[in-house]
Symmetry: C2
Subunit: 646 residues, 2 copies
């Protein structure tokens, strides 16, 4: 056995032991040390870089580590095995995806504005914001020798009298506490009920004096980030809001790698645990603490997520999703309860799942479509969700079509050497001076936070600025030289946003030609998907009335720059609206309102799906879109005009 | 820390460690060493006798240990504390109640005859032996790119088409295995369903080739003994039968001590674990093995037990049962599922509970009443269940009245120094030669089994014989002397059935005046209850057409002797019928037949309850019955005639 020490930039260490030949990435996973491996350890993403500080490692050389870097100790964990006692540094960027849980400060109006707006808009369409949860106060006659009715029947009769609903269901959890609660409170109690016209389900029972809030939990399970709110089910008030990296990240950044991982023995449980026990349950604990409520008072949950994520959440084999004919186990399911999957809320809580419409368009999109309100307007709107993949919905109150494109995780910082989620230390906006080539940027976090990496909106800005300043050409290759432009031994260029000494990191924050290439393919996938879907309907981008952009790309997304790089069509900028995390907002509405839930099922079943790969022109469209802004510059007259004006 | 060694008659030992001052009975409980303590460690029952073999114990002297016995090392564990390393012998009789699990040999026709008979009788009344469980074979079209319906909807539609029931519920457990089972079996599957007119619940799904048996589990949870059968739900065939001592025994022999125990912190869980995890689940494992089925194929369970036992089974506070106004949490409940209480069968299996009609008349009696068939006959019948308490039902097809008397555990060997359940080594029948005073007995178990103690039927015989041979007088005191009659230092008499050397035990198998006194009070409670209940209806014992005797007293019960000692009324012997464990047989019928289940609920709600303590004459009746056979010998003309004939 050798001793393996993981050291971190903050000075902390994790020590463990391993056998000769053990893989360093696996050792880190076992020891619960977060090292990103979006490619799941295939040596293809180059993210799992660690720096050898003392001792030895058997490491293969890879293109991801330059000669000079290798000499200063940089290694990929996934191709390193233990051969001696060893200490490695795990840089912050290597775990930028890791589960940094954050509970929002709700005193900031911004955090809740988006929910308030969604509530107003949906109410405006006539959809009632009511649900089936109720708190009722019940007073019974105490039993006597002349009235020996058992506890459950006493309560049942009292509730029946009160609500005139015949069937009352008292689950085990309530039956179990019934004798004590009734007697301790002299047969005067509050009941938490779910009522339907034929049926009454008693979630819980409290004394008259107890402070009872009926809460709900809405969760957006993104491939990269999980976000959630706890709400007051009576009025929709946001009681707590949190987010964290999806703990499944360590099994791969994209859904395909995770599906492969869950196929291995014990894999389904492992992936389910990663998202539930390691990600969602700790968030629930923190949010409950921040909201001052008990987790047992959460009586309903709504999950919105892509099809793979909701299958992995439920621990259901997702393999058929990636193999022809791509069949999910469910579009919609009523089968899930908290106790089934081990979500740490009231164990009888029903989990509703925003409906999937196929393997590649899931509940995140149907929930987001609800929020976009495109189904309620005569105008033609385009809804774009830039998650780990890109999904689009186009239509109006008469029809809706959806499609998905494999844009990859670039918008959330995946596939980009210094990419990261839009959390503390992420460069979220950037300009570059044409003359000096010096950058100016805005960083997520408290003032003074140093840059660690780039989030999606930051990458768009940097590429757009590099292009507009002529530092890169339409193919994304570096064509100007300067202090911030580097070339490695293979001639690969990169632009340094922050040198090691400026950065809050142990290495330069930079963007490389490989990164730019990856991003161009991602944006090309989006743009070509828009064109292909519109063409299939005999539409043209000029006929789009509004574009609603959602996703974890960051609220700082600069639409102009997104058009400049050819990601979005060149139409008037006032048509673009960033609507934030519409998957979470949609889950919130479905949670709060039974009618909104029904509406989402309706939307899902009315939405048609276009499989892009079956459209013969899609590949050509994609290839054409893999330039900045496009091979066909006539599609971007505004961008061209701006370039010539410079 | 001192080393504490428990040695057993079979030569095995259990070693553990304890601190000075630790109570020996508690140490035994911790170490999972079964030592009976019907009084729950109050030094009142004298059952927890152990023999000091080496080392020391701090032990209080008690009346239960004679001077001579004390000198040979006998101690009560409950009043002994550790003060040094010590080795004690735990005699077999000290754990005669312990969880000796037994799975019956079904090749013996006797074991199943009682169920066959009950089935025939109930069918004869027109009650259908059908239930809601079904196995259906379903063939679906495999999905294709043109038919992308998700798995759950595909199955739902196929089932709906097949059975024309609108609502199909696929629980999480089935959803989880759906993708694999469908694909592995080319969309041809067998479904286990529970169908009602409006609803279809899919319990499980298998491939067409899988051997599928739908099974059910009926359990009688007696205060002393737990018995169970696993059956084929299609035809009622008994697939396995087992029994074991109720693991709760170590927390007290009677319900009151157990209720007190469950009131302590963590007590409800402890008592629930004792009966479920330690008693029922191991039995299920053994029975499944013997039947060659998987526990997941048990889709329905029925429990019949007294009100305290079903509360403790469910982990529900039973304290209100023993305090005025004696209110159970439930008479009837639909709330229980296997996953709720941790019963190790299919986790979605519904647990039905034979209905209670009050704190002192529970589901064992309502289930037993179903089996007795007294509700279906114009003749007046008396149903007597000799469990740990005695319960009676009297009536016919027009009316039924029930009552309960605190007979105590004597019929199952409790409160009797050498008492034991009717398992291997129990003397179950006995005669005594009037001249020689020598006994002849029949012992439960294989030929050659040596006597360990006495079960209920054996005690009746011994007392009857001692009385008829004039060895004891009507008060139960020894009035003849002989080799087998002993007197201790206080003058207390006893009759030795087997001297140490004859017995399979480390001490004499005997019956003492205290035992006889306890038993007289128990039989007196039964007889006076019969008289009191009949009087309250203006009936007389002569008007009883039939008596059905049920319970764990042993199938060898000699009705003539039971009349002789004044336990049962002196009416023609052909009116008496022993119907075995009617609680288990009733649970079997309720499990197998939905109509029988409904019938039991009807019986329960139509049955009136007589609280004996509110009848002014009951106490006088009881005092009068505490003689052999009775103070009023005119009530037993047959017995008197026999006595004078001798």
């Amino acid at each position: 056995m050798f001793k393996v020490t993981f050291a971190f930039e903050d000075g902390s260490v994790v020590e463990t032991y391993a056998n000769a030949g053990d893989n360093l990435l696996e050792i880190a996973r076992e020891a619960n040390v977060a090292i990103d491996a979006p490619c799941s350890g295939n040596a293809s993403c180059g993210k799992c870089r660690v720096q050898l500080k003392s001792g030895e490692l058997d490491s293969k050389k890879t293109l991801h580590i330059a000669e000079e870097e290798y000499n200063s100790g940089w290694r990929l964990a996934c191709v390193s095995t233990v051969c001696a006692d060893v200490t490695v540094l795990v840089p912050d960027i290597a775990s930028a995806y890791k589960s940094r849980m954050k509970v929002a400060d709700l005193s900031s109006k911004e955090e809740i504005a988006i929910f308030e707006k969604a509530k107003r808009e949906i109410e405006f369409t006539g959809i009632m914001l009511s649900n089936s949860l109720d708190v009722v106060e019940v007073t019974m006659n105490p039993p006597s020798l002349d009235d020996t009715m058992p506890d459950n029947e006493r309560l049942t009769r009292a509730l029946r009298k009160f609500l005139n609903i015949k069937r009352v269901r008292i689950p085990y959890a309530v039956l179990k506490k019934l004798p004590d609660v009734l007697r301790d409170n002299n047969y005067q109690v509050k009941c938490i009920l779910r009522t339907t016209p034929n049926d009454m389900f008693v979630y819980d029972i409290y004394g008259m004096e107890d402070n009872v809030v009926t809460c709900g939990l809405a969760v957006d399970i993104g491939t990269t980030t999980v976000s959630a709110v706890i709400i007051n089910m009576e009025n929709g008030e946001i009681l707590a809001k949190g987010s964290a990296g999806n703990g499944q990240i360590r099994y791969g950044a994209d859904v395909i790698n995770r599906i492969i991982e869950q196929q291995k023995p014990g894999g389904k449980k492992k992936l389910q645990d990663a998202v539930i026990r390691e990600t969602i349950n700790p968030m629930i604990r923190e949010m409950c603490r921040s909201a001052g409520i008990s987790k047992n008072q959460i009586y309903r949950m709504c999950v919105a997520s892509n099809t793979t994520m909701n299958h992995l959440f439920a621990g259901i084999n997702a393999d058929p999703l990636r193999m022809e004919p791509y069949i999910p186990a469910f579009f919609k399911t009523n089968s899930l309860f908290a106790s089934d999957v081990g979500i740490d809320i009231n164990q009888d809580a029903h989990i509703i799942v925003a409906p999937n419409i196929g393997s590649y368009v899931g509940g995140d999109i149907t929930a987001g479509t609800l929020v976009s309100m495109i189904w309620n307007r005569p105008e033609f709107s385009l809804f774009i969700d830039l998650g780990t993949n890109g999904e689009l919905v186009f239509g109006n109150s008469d029809f809706m079509m959806s499609c998905a494109c494999s844009a990859g995780p670039a918008f959330e910082g995946g596939d980009i050497s210094c990419g990261m989620r839009a959390t503390d230390g992420a460069i979220e906006a950037c300009t570059i001076d044409k003359e000096t080539m010096e950058p100016t940027y805005r960083i997520v976090g408290a003032p003074g936070t140093k840059p660690i990496g780039l989030c999606g909106s930051g990458i768009i800005d940097v590429i757009s600025e590099l292009f507009m300043t002529g530092i890169i050409n339409p193919k994304g290759k570096f064509v100007r030289e300067g202090r911030r432009v580097k070339h490695d031994q293979y001639g690969m260029g990169s632009y340094v946003l922050a040198f090691e000494e400026e950065a809050g990191s142990v290495k330069d924050v930079e963007i490389t030609e490989v990164d730019i290439d990856n991003f161009i393919r991602a944006k090309g996938a989006i743009f070509s998907a828009i064109r292909t879907m519109l063409s299939s309907l005999d539409f043209d981008v000029s006929m789009i009335d509004d574009v609603y952009v959602a996703g974890g790309i960051g609220s700082g997304i600069n639409m102009k720059n997104a058009v400049t790089i050819g990601m979005f069509p060149d139409i008037p900028l006032d048509k673009f609206h960033y609507i934030g995390n519409s998957s979470l907002t949609g889950a919130y509405l479905m949670l709060l309102s039974t009618r909104a839930e029904q509406k989402t099922y309706e939307l899902a079943s009315n939405m048609t799906y276009l499989e892009l790969s079956t459209v013969p022109t899609y590949m050509d469209e994609f290839v054409g879109a893999c330039f900045i802004p496009h091979t066909d510059t006539s599609l971007f007259p505004g961008v061209m005009e701006q370039l010539t004006q410079q």
